[in-house]
C-alpha cells in the first residue's frame, strides 16, 4: 500500500533529515520574507505546490511521483445537478442503444450533496425531460409553490410588489426543494444506472495530451504537510483518462479558470460577474409556518446601488422548516461591506423577524453564484472537454434559478457526446475529442432563449437610480417586451476591480448579533460542519505573500476579512514589531470561492484541498 519508492521509508526519512540540515545552512529565502519598509519579518503563508513547484523543492527529492492511471469513456468533474444530469443522460442513452459506456464522476465532497447549496425554487422543466417519472422514483420535490410574495424593504416597513404572471420571479408551477437532498437523489439514480461515482476525491489537475487536448484529470495528492513537505502517508492522486472530460465544478471552478486561459475560451465574452449567497435553515414556530410560501425582498439593508436581496421559503417536509438567505452582488464598491453581517442584520427587519421569532437555526452555508448571464457565456467546448452547468454560468438571474439550466446543459452535453464517444471511428483531429455540437445544441435550446430574454435585467441596475432604475427597466422591457429590445447592455467589468479605496468610503456600523435572530460568524461556521485535515498546505494560495498587507490592507482595509463568510481571513498583529499580518484559517473554508472572485489584488488563487474536506451540508 505504501508508494513504491526507490528508497525505503527509513532511508527517505534520513534523506529528508539531511536536506533539512542543508537547508538550515542556506539563506532562508523561501521560508521567511522581509517587508521592504519595516524590519518586521513576515511568516510565510503559502506553501502549496502550485506556487512552489515540487520539482525544485529539495524536500521532494527521491519521492515517487508516478501516478496510477485508469481509462474511462467519459470523466465528469463535479457531482452537482449538471454533472449528474450529464452522467445520467449518457447512461440512459447507452441503455437505449445497448452500448457499453464507462462514465466516472469525481466529487470533492465526502458525499454527494454535501457541498450543494441553493435557495431553491426548482423549475422542473429539465427534470421532466430527464426523468418523466420522477415522482414515482421518489424525487424529493415535496413542496409545490403556493404563494409568491415580493417586497421592497425599508428600515421599518415593507412595500409589497404584486407578483404578476410573466414577471421573471413568478414561481407558479415550481417546487421549493432542498437542493442537497435533490442532488443526493440524482446521485442514487446515477449509481443505479451504473455511473461510477467517487465522492471524497477532488479533481486537482487537468491532464493534457501531447497535442494540447485534454486527456483527463488527476485527483488530489494526499499526505502533504502544512509546510509543503511530504508526510509518511503521502500518496499521489490518480489519473483518470477519458475521451471527453466534462467540467461541472459549479460557479467559478478552479480547473475551469485554468481552461479559460489554456484555450482562450473567454476572448469573446465579458468577464463573469458574481454574487455571494448566504443561507440558513430554521425550524420555526408551527403557528408561523406557511408551507409552499415563497418570499423575496430587495432594498433594506442594502443601499440602492448595491445589488442584492433576500429569499425565505417555507418547506413542506413534515416539520416547520424554512430556508432563508441573502444575496449580495459582488460588484459592490464599499470595502467595509460584510455580506454576512448584512444577512444577519436583515433578519431583524420586522417582516422577517416575526417569522423567525421563537425559532431555532439549524444550518448555515454560503456559496458564490453567477450573475453575468448571456453576456458572460464563454466558449464551452475545447479539444478533449467541455464546460457544463454553473461553471460557464447558465443561471437566469432575475428568475434566481440556475438548476434547471445547469441540468439541461449537462443533458445536452451528454447527447452531443454520446454518438462521438461510442462511434467506431471518432474521426477527431485531436486525441481528446472536440465536440462543438454541444455548443450548437445549447444555442438552439430553451436555455439560450431564456438567457437572451433576461440578458439586460441585471446590467440595467448600473444606473444612477440603481435598484429602482433596474426595476423600472425590468417592468418595461421584460414584462412588456419580453427582452426583445435590440440592444445588449454591458456589465461593469471585473467584480474585483469595483472596490473603492477604503478612505473614500464610510465604514458601516453593524449591530451586534443578539444570539436569537442574528449570530456571530464563528458559531455560524461551526453549523456548516466544515472541516479539513489540519496538516495540509492552505488551499487559499497567494501568488505573492506580501500583497495582502501591502495592498489589500493598506488601500482597502482588508476586505477579505469581511467578505469571507467563514472567517478564513484575519489580519492579526505581528508577534514582534509593528504591523499586521494576514492569517489564513484554511480549515474554516466553506468552498464558496468569493475570495478568489472579489480579491482586489486578484492575488488569492483558490485550489482544491484534500478531498472530502469542506462543508458537510445536509439538504441545503
Amino acid at each position: 500500500m505504501f508508494p513504491a519508492s526507490r528508497y525505503s521509508v527509513q532511508a527517505q526519512r534520513c534523506i529528508r533529515a539531511l536536506k533539512t540540515v542543508q537547508a538550515e545552512h542556506a539563506p532562508p529565502q523561501h521560508y521567511m520574507w522581509r517587508r521592504n519598509c519595516s524590519s518586521a519579518v513576515m511568516p510565510r503563508i503559502t506553501s502549496h505546490y502550485t506556487i512552489f513547484p515540487r520539482d525544485k523543492d529539495p524536500r521532494w527529492e527521491g519521492v515517487e511521483m508516478a501516478r496510477f492511471a485508469d481509462e474511462a469513456d467519459v470523466v465528469i468533474v463535479g457531482g452537482g445537478p449538471a454533472g449528474l444530469s450529464a452522467a445520467i443522460r449518457l447512461k440512459q442513452l447507452a441503455k437505449e442503444q445497448e452500448k457499453e459506456l464507462r462514465v466516472c464522476l469525481v466529487e470533492k465532497a465526502s458525499q454527494i450533496g454535501a457541498h450543494t447549496l441553493s435557495g431553491a425554487c426548482l423549475e422542473p422543466s429539465a427534470l421532466n425531460e430527464l426523468f418523466p417519472d420522477w415522482k414515482e422514483r421518489g424525487a424529493p420535490l415535496n413542496t409545490p409553490v403556493t404563494e409568491d410574495l415580493f417586497s421592497i424593504l425599508t428600515e421599518k416597513y415593507r412595500i409589497p410588489v404584486p407578483m404578476l404572471p410573466g414577471l421573471p420571479m413568478n414561481n407558479h408551477g415550481n417546487y421549493i426543494v432542498r437542493l442537497g437532498h435533490f442532488v443526493h437523489w440524482l446521485g442514487e439514480q446515477a449509481e443505479e444506472l451504473g455511473v461510477e461515482i467517487y465522492p471524497g476525491y477532488a479533481a486537482a489537475e487537468v491532464l493534457f495530451h501531447e497535442d494540447g487536448s485534454v486527456k483527463g484529470i488527476a485527483t488530489n495528492d494526499v499526505g502533504i504537510a502544512k509546510d509543503g513537505s511530504p508526510k509518511d502517508v503521502f500518496e499521489r492522486g490518480m489519473e483518470l483518462h477519458a475521451k471527453v472530460t466534462l467540467f461541472g465544478e459549479g460557479c467559478h471552478g478552479h480547473l475551469a479558470k485554468q481552461l479559460y486561459r489554456q484555450f482562450n475560451l473567454r476572448e469573446n465574452c465579458e468577464p463573469q460577474t458574481y454574487a455571494i449567497g448566504l443561507k440558513e435553515l430554521w425550524l420555526i414556530d408551527e403557528k408561523k409556518w406557511r408551507p409552499g410560501r415563497v418570499e423575496h425582498s430587495v432594498g433594506w439593508p442594502l443601499n440602492r446601488n448595491t445589488y442584492g436581496g433576500s429569499f425565505l421559503y417555507h418547506l413542506n417536509e413534515g416539520e416547520p422548516l424554512v430556508a432563508l438567505g441573502f444575496v449580495v452582488g459582488l460588484d459592490y464598491t464599499n470595502p467595509y461591506l460584510s455580506p454576512f453581517r448584512e444577512f444577519q442584520r436583515w433578519k431583524h427587519h420586522p417582516f422577517v423577524a416575526k417569522t423567525l421569532e421563537g425559532g431555532n437555526r439549524i444550518a448555515y452555508g454560503a456559496r458564490a453564484l453567477n450573475e453575468g448571464g448571456y453576456q458572460c457565456l464563454p466558449k464551452v467546448t475545447f479539444p478533449g472537454g467541455m464546460l457544463i452547468g454553473c461553471s460557464p454560468g447558465f443561471m437566469n438571474v432575475p428568475k434566481i434559478k440556475g438548476t434547471h439550466t445547469a441540468m439541461k446543459s449537462g443533458m445536452l452535453a451528454a447527447e452531443a457526446i454520446f454518438p462521438k464517444v461510442t462511434a467506431e471511428d471518432p474521426a477527431s483531429e485531436t486525441a481528446g475529442l472536440h465536440i462543438p455540437e454541444y455548443e450548437d445544441n445549447l444555442k438552439k435550446s430553451w436555455i439560450w432563449k431564456e438567457l437572451y430574454a433576461v440578458r439586460n435585467i441585471r446590467p440595467s441596475f448600473h444606473n444612477y437610480f440603481g435598484l429602482y432604475g433596474g426595476m423600472v427597466y425590468t417592468g418595461v422591457f421584460y414584462w412588456i417586451l419580453r427582452g426583445k429590445e435590440p440592444w445588449t447592455l454591458k456589465h461593469a467589468g471585473l467584480d474585483s476591480a469595483q472596490l473603492k479605496p477604503a478612505k473614500e468610503c464610510t465604514p458601516i456600523e453593524y449591530p451586534k448579533p443578539d444570539g436569537k435572530l442574528s449570530f456571530d460568524l464563528l458559531s455560524s461556521v461551526a453549523l456548516s460542519g466544515t472541516n479539513h485535515e489540519g496538516d495540509q498546505p492552505p488551499h487559499l494560495t497567494l501568488k505573492d505573500d506580501s500583497i495582502p498587507v501591502a495592498n489589500n490592507l493598506a488601500i482597502y482595509d482588508g476586505p477579505e476579512q469581511r467578505f469571507c463568510p467563514a472567517g478564513v481571513y484575519e489580519y492579526v498583529p505581528l508577534e514582534t514589531g509593528e504591523g499586521m499580518r494576514l492569517q489564513i484559517n484554511a480549515q474554516n473554508c466553506v468552498h464558496c470561492k468569493t475570495c478568489d472572485i472579489k480579491d482586489p489584488s486578484q492575488n488569492i488563487n483558490w485550489v482544491v484541498p484534500e478531498g472530502s474536506g469542506g462543508p458537510a451540508y445536509n439538504g441545503l
Partner: protein, 253 residues
C-alpha cells in the same frame, strides 16, 4: 497466525454539529455526514500493518448496521483489508444496538472465522462506551490488550504497551486475544482512489445476527436525549480580590 478480525463502526463525522431530534428520542442522523470512527481507522491500519509485516495472512473488516455501513467496510477494504462481513441490523434493532450485542456478534464471528486476533477501536465517538473490546474478550474468554499504543507480535504472544492513567503499562498476552486501539498506535493511511476502485472487487459477505445465534434484544432503554445546557458567558475580573468577592457573592465560598 492467520486471520485478524477488525471492527469498523460508521458514526456521525466528528466535525458535524449534532442536533437532537425534536421528540428527544435521539440525534438526527438522516443525511448527516458519517465517516469511519477514528479509532476504528487506527485499528484497521494496525491490522494492515501486521499483514504487511507478514505476521498474519488475512484481515477481515466487520461492521454491523444497515446498508450504509457497506461504505465504511469499503473504506476499510481500500485501506488494505482482504474481505468484509456486513452484519445486517436495521430499524429499531439498530437504534438499540450497543456494545453488548456487538460483542456477542464479534465473539461468534471470531470463533466462526478462527481468528487469532480481534482488533477494535478503543471506543466509538458517538457513544463513548469503551466496552465492546472488553466484553468481546470476556465472552470469548480471551486475554485483552486495551488502549494499545504499541503492538508487537512475539511468537505466540503479543506485547502490548497500554496507555493508562499512570503512564504506560507493558503486558504480554497470549493469542488469540482482543486488542483495542488508542490514538497513538499509528497514523492511518488514506484510502486512495485506485484502492477504492480495487476494493469494489473485494467480497463483502452479508449475514444477520440470527445466523450467528445472537439475539439483539437490548437491556438498555433510552428514555430521553437532551442537549447539554448552554454555557453561560464567563465574567472577566481584574484582580484576585475581585475574584474572591465574586465567588463570595455567588455563594461558592
Amino acid at each position: 497466525m492467520s486471520r485478524v478480525l477488525v471492527g469498523v463502526k460508521r458514526v456521525i463525522d466528528y466535525a458535524v454539529k449534532i442536533r437532537v431530534k425534536p421528540d428527544h428520542s435521539g440525534v438526527v442522523t438522516d443525511g448527516v455526514k458519517h465517516s469511519m470512527n477514528p479509532f476504528c481507522e487506527i485499528a484497521v491500519e494496525e491490522a494492515v500493518k501486521l499483514k504487511e509485516k507478514k505476521f498474519i495472512k488475512e484481515v477481515v473488516a466487520v461492521s454491523c448496521g444497515p446498508t450504509q455501513v457497506t461504505e465504511t467496510i469499503r473504506t476499510a477494504l481500500a485501506m488494505g483489508c482482504d474481505r468484509g462481513i456486513h452484519v445486517e441490523v436495521s430499524g429499531k434493532d439498530y437504534e438499540a444496538m450497543g456494545p453488548l450485542q456487538i460483542s456477542k456478534i464479534f465473539a461468534a464471528l471470531a470463533k466462526k472465522e478462527e481468528a487469532s486476533l480481534v482488533i477494535l477501536g478503543k471506543q466509538a465517538i458517538d457513544d463513548d462506551c469503551n466496552q465492546t473490546g472488553q466484553m468481546t474478550a470476556a465472552l470469548l474468554d480471551w486475554p485483552q490488550g486495551t488502549f494499545a499504543s504499541e503492538v508487537t507480535i512475539d511468537g505466540e504472544k503479543v506485547k502490548v504497551v497500554r496507555e493508562i492513567d499512570g503512564g504506560l503499562e507493558t503486558i504480554k498476552i497470549s493469542m488469540p486475544a482482543v486488542l483495542t486501539a488508542d490514538l497513538r498506535l499509528n497514523t492511518p493511511r488514506y484510502a486512495t482512489l485506485p484502492n477504492i476502485m480495487k476494493a469494489k472487487k473485494k467480497k463483502i459477505a452479508t449475514m444477520k445476527p440470527a445466523d450467528l445465534g445472537v439475539d439483539m434484544v437490548s437491556r438498555v432503554e433510552v428514555l430521553r436525549v437532551d442537549e447539554p445546557p448552554t454555557r453561560l458567558a464567563g465574567v472577566k475580573v481584574e484582580t484576585v480580590d475581585d475574584l474572591v468577592a465574586k465567588l463570595k457573592a455567588n455563594g461558592t465560598i
